[in-house]
């Protein structure tokens, strides 16, 4: 949905933000009034430039303290840049912290009106959208209860429902994707996808590379306030991940994978390696995955990842990319993954099985098989993979002594 001739929706030119650190709070007041410096400086952003086209998903990644939140705050108009230019076309709604604008004593319904008004809707627009917001949030009879009685998940659901139903030209989301339970997360992701498809522009800041990869065509990597990399997500994210790996943050990635709670609408029941725990070169590998769900209407895709023990991703098998599935129409499923041959030469491998929703994005459940199989060899092989090849002697007359 990108229109190359339109001007960019967001355009930032040499944005810098310097936070002033004051010894005493009163110094700040005197300086603001008298315009005479009384501070030391902290550079949160240094000459950040980028453009976002209409209909584009744009990711923002970086470590904690890299300046992501500062940049989003400037884009959202909450704080001003110290220097540089920022141009935004159309309406902007930001979810910098879901539910932060709610008043705990007011009911959900009253908060919807207040929050939507703050996001820029007129009274008529609010009235028109309230039913949709209520429907999306699925809070039902809780809507007429004060917000203070809500659980965190409910507050987030309401916050997300408002921000998305406001339908801004540009939606800014800061770490707000982990909304509520798996079911609601899926719903939000489907909604964000259709928002993008409808020409909406999305700016996401997240530590979950999975979300960045799912929604963003381009990604900006901020490091210590400056642009470390800006380009296609497929290029920037692996570089960032390699950077994190180099900082030996191995555990972090794995800890993001959390199994579905027993009450989840769909869960993996069993994963079996039919071909046994020893793999011999040239043989097929067969994996049987069983899962169950509450609603036969639900449709599923599967993703199987093959990792080395040191978490190097060796191969992945995605049903929605190989034209298989989605599978639906029953509550108990069994699907077999057949791999005719693995070109692996040695080592023990680990299997990740992801039960995905129909969109191939949302993860219902994860199953990890540690030490799934070991590759046997007769003579110690060098390297990682077996690559078919030939050795051919060439009879070159020129080099022939005889």
């Amino acid at each position: 949905m990108t229109h190359p001739h339109d001007p960019p929706v967001v355009s930032a030119e040499d944005l810098s933000k310097t936070y002033r650190v004051y010894a005493r709070p009163a110094d700040r007041l005197f300086e603001a009034l008298l315009r005479r410096p009384r501070h030391s400086a902290f550079h949160a952003l240094k000459d950040v430039s980028f453009e976002v086209e209409r209909g584009e998903g744009f990711g923002l990644i970086g470590e904690n303290g890299a300046g992501k939140s500062t940049l989003l705050k400037i884009l959202a108009g909450v704080t001003a840049a110290t220097s540089g230019k920022i141009r935004l076309q159309g309406s902007v709604a930001s979810i910098l912290e879901l539910g932060s604008a709610f008043h705990p004593e007011l009911t959900g319904r009253q908060n919807i009106v207040l929050n939507a008004a703050m996001l820029g809707l007129s009274r008529n627009e609010v009235d028109e959208r309230i039913p949709r917001i209520i429907e999306f949030s699925e809070l039902g009879s809780f809507l007429d209860q004060p917000i203070k009685t809500y659980s965190t998940g409910m507050v987030m659901r309401l916050g997300f429902a408002i921000a998305t139903q406001v339908e801004p030209d540009v939606l800014i989301i800061d770490e707000a994707l982990s909304v509520g339970d798996g079911y609601f997360q899926k719903k939000c992701m489907v909604h964000l996808k259709s928002y993008l498809d409808g020409g909406g522009t999305l700016l996401i800041c997240s530590h979950a590379m999975y979300y960045i990869s799912a929604f963003c065509e381009r990604t900006l990597w901020l490091r210590d306030g400056h642009v470390e990399a800006l380009g296609p997500t497929q290029q920037v994210v692996p570089r960032y991940e390699a950077f994190l790996d180099a900082k030996s943050n191995h555990g972090e990635e794995a800890s993001e994978i959390v199994g579905a709670p027993p009450s989840a609408p769909a869960r993996i029941d069993d994963v079996r390696l039919l071909t046994g725990s020893t793999y011999r070169h040239g043989r097929p590998l067969e994996l049987e995955i069983r899962w169950s769900c509450d609603d036969p209407e639900m449709a599923f895709h599967l993703c199987v990842g093959l990792n080395r023990p040191d978490e190097v991703e060796v191969a992945s098998f995605l049903s929605h990319r190989s034209g298989a599935g989605p599978w639906s129409g029953r509550t108990r499923h069994t699907v077999r993954l057949s791999i005719p041959e693995l070109p692996l030469v040695k080592n023990t491998f680990k299997l990740y099985v992801f039960l995905l929703a129909e969109d191939g994005l949302h993860i219902h459940d994860t199953w990890i098989v540690e030490d799934a199989f070991n590759v046997e060899y007769e003579e110690y092989p060098f390297g990682i993979v077996h690559i078919p090849h030939q050795w051919v002697p060439i009879n070159d007359p020129g080099s022939d002594d005889g």
Binding site: Y19, R20, P25, A26, R28, L29, A32, L33, K73, A76, G77, V78, T79, A80, V92, S94, L96, E97, S100, A101, H103, E105, L106, Q110, V113, L114, A117, M118, L119, G120, S122, R123, P146
Partner: protein, 258 residues
């Protein structure tokens, strides 16, 4: 744009009004109880114990009626200024996380205070009616008194709200200053009781004009001389302009400072 600001202002005022009484048993009735409580205490102290009476030249001989005319605008101003002082700091998360005209937070508490005053005023007029002291002839003066009062409240409110972001001491200081201002305004005593040599200073107090205007308005009086209203009119205009100017100048730094 203005339309949207008014809509948002209405929602903020409602948020303030409803948020305050949420969870209390009497709720909204507190806006009746509080002024009555002050009225009873002051009447006992000043009228019964200290024998203050409105005296010659005032429109009523009843101390309670005299007192309440002055108490009405005073309570609204005090509430407006004190709550405006913390309006920005109390909504720190809003100011830090959302982009919206934050001056509406100050206007909202000023209008919520006015709403409380309107309730107390309605009650007061009802009592005057029942006791046969009601006169509608001066009520039009409220059209002059209320805007001046709002300008003065909002001006001081904006000033305090903005400064309080940087110096939290403002709220404490304001509490003390307002206490002094209350006793230096002829609310619990008539101006005629003030010694001659101090009277010019009290006449320069803008609230003297406001309280006088209210008494004339509610007790069937006339428009006071413009000279006596001059301190009120100039102070209201100057503080409103200065307050908004300072607020706008400091506003860009709010989100970084709170």
């Amino acid at each position: 744009m203005l339309n949207h600001s008014l809509f948002l202002l209405g929602e903020f005022t409602r948020r303030d009004f409803k948020g305050r009484y949420a969870g209390s048993a009497l709720g909204f009735l507190w806006s009746f109880v509080q002024p009555l409580w002050s009225l009873a205490l002051f009447t006992f102290l000043f009228s019964t114990v200290m024998k203050v009476s409105p005296g010659i030249g005032e429109r009523t001989a009843n101390f309670a009626v005299f007192l309440f005319c002055g108490l009405l605008p005073w309570m609204a101003m005090q509430e407006g200024i004190l709550r405006a002082t913390t309006a920005i700091t109390d909504s720190a998360t809003l100011v830090k996380k959302m982009s919206f005209p934050s001056d509406l937070l100050v206007w909202a508490v000023v209008f919520a205070a006015l709403l409380h005053e309107a309730i107390a005023l309605g009650m007061f007029l009802f009592v005057l009616g029942v006791t046969g002291q009601f006169s509608a002839s001066g009520l039009w003066l409220l059209l002059l008194a209320v805007p001046l009062q709002v300008a003065l409240t909002a001006g001081l409110g904006f000033l305090s709200a903005a400064i309080n972001v940087f110096l939290r001491d403002t709220a404490q200081i304001n509490g003390m200053l307002l206490q002094a201002w209350f006793y230096l305004t002829p609310i619990v005593y008539p101006l005629s009781l003030v010694p001659e040599r101090f009277r010019p200073f009290l006449e320069l107090n803008p609230l003297t004009g406001l309280v006088t205007l209210y008494r004339e308005a509610l007790l069937g009086g006339e428009l006071p001389s413009l000279l006596s209203l001059a301190p009120l009119i100039t102070t209201a205009a100057v503080t409103l302009v200065a307050g908004i100017w300072v607020f706008r100048r400091l506003r860009p730094a709010f989100a970084d400072e709170i």
